[in-house]
Symmetry: none
Subunit: 142 residues, 4 copies
């Protein structure tokens, strides 16, 4: 297997911060500081890029709601079908007799996805909702 090329550079940090970072990296399961820094950079790149409306993003929208509340499901499904071209699929888990957790996998222009997410989370009967933005993987270096 060909070794992947790397760029090597040096970083200067307050000693205490470096120590705290190394402790955290260990707790997260990294045994290599460069890998931990690389993952952290990718995380910030994903977050930074979601501010640009037309950029294509992938992500998930997590919703918890009580399906007995009047019309909550109809409302959520109507919003989803109006945007079925960016909603790849939805996974529904029955937490108990009342509560549902639904997670939608979405992919499309950041601006449109933000708007759908806002509408779903604001829907009456939704107890809690969160948009998690990630990447389509294409334009993020491995």
């Amino acid at each position: 297997m060909k070794k992947e090329s790397v760029d090597r550079f040096s970083v200067s940090l307050p000693p205490k911060l470096l120590k705290q970072f190394d402790t955290m990296a260990g707790e997260k399961g990294y045994d290599n500081r460069s890998l931990a820094i690389a993952d952290m950079m990718r995380d910030h790149l994903v977050e930074h890029r979601q501010k640009f409306g037309a950029e294509e993003i992938a992500g998930t929208i997590t919703l918890v709601y009580d399906h007995h509340k009047s019309h909550v499901q109809e409302t959520l499904t109507d919003i989803q079908h109006d945007h079925h071209e960016v909603i790849i699929s939805a996974l529904h888990v029955h937490l108990d007799h009342h509560n549902c957790l639904e997670v939608l996998v979405v992919r499309g222009p950041a601006g449109q996805i933000k708007k759908i997410s806002d509408a779903l989370i604001a829907a009456k009967g939704v107890k809690h909702g969160k948009l998690t933005v990630t990447t389509t993987g294409k334009d993020l270096a491995g």
Copy 2:
């Protein structure tokens, strides 16, 4: 003003990732790579130190990875099966020939879920991952 002491160390990164990071740092107004990395580390430390205890949470873990990277899938599946009692199910979307998005629906003690999530995100080959914590709905008024 006394100069603060610093620790100097070297980091190895894929060249393309380093370039993407430098561009972002410039857009954010940093003219010094070490300062940008220091701020990013502090940001992650704040997030990492949120307390995750014995209370029951529900949530999702979103992962993007290149399934062609050696053993990434085996690693992810092994971690998941070791904790199958808290992972309700996983939804897998094939983004393109290389990239997968996988979202796991989890439910259990917060501390255990944080640990699984850290292990999955740190796994080699995972480009980006995020734990989204929500509620089981039971103790949250509708």
Copy 3:
């Protein structure tokens, strides 16, 4: 040969469905609609009479429906929540503006799962449904 006695009754169907059925019956070689219906009934009786007892099975229930049909979603969700202990999760795909495909992963006593499946498929607004029985893997050699 003695003429066999028959019961005569009337059926009301959407005109388009009746036309599609007649076309299929013709393609299958029937020249008599009653005979085609009789054979179809016998086919379903054979399937229905498979024994579903107390043994544990795993399986999937696949449903296609038009979510605009009045109350179909509410009905399906109510049935699912009444049996949330055997329904592990449900995956929902938005096929187009009208049509949904939903697949439920189920695990539990065969008899109970057959009953839930029958109720979901018979729900008004469901165009097509199928129970696929598989194994929990435990008692099947690899």
Copy 4:
């Protein structure tokens, strides 16, 4: 709400068969014989149409496998990514420490889907697999 138009026609059946059918329809939860016959017709139409290779179908592929068997996951993922344009998403449930149930939602030309399904089910390590064909809902009268 506008009443939907229906075609009314009469059917002649052996009395015993009609009685058995009515019993089954009752057990399945129908309280209207015409609705039970309509659902049965749609089921046969879906099955009949899957014989035509180029027709677009939707469906699910259910697989049970032991993820510890060497390379089974890599094989399954490689097949899936080679056909990612017809595989909408996959739901993965961890049945126990060894066994996985995976259900794929597929949509595309009947011939291609049959071929993918055969390849997945034949893969070494898969204990049991089933293709369930349904409809995209578009060309099936409601």
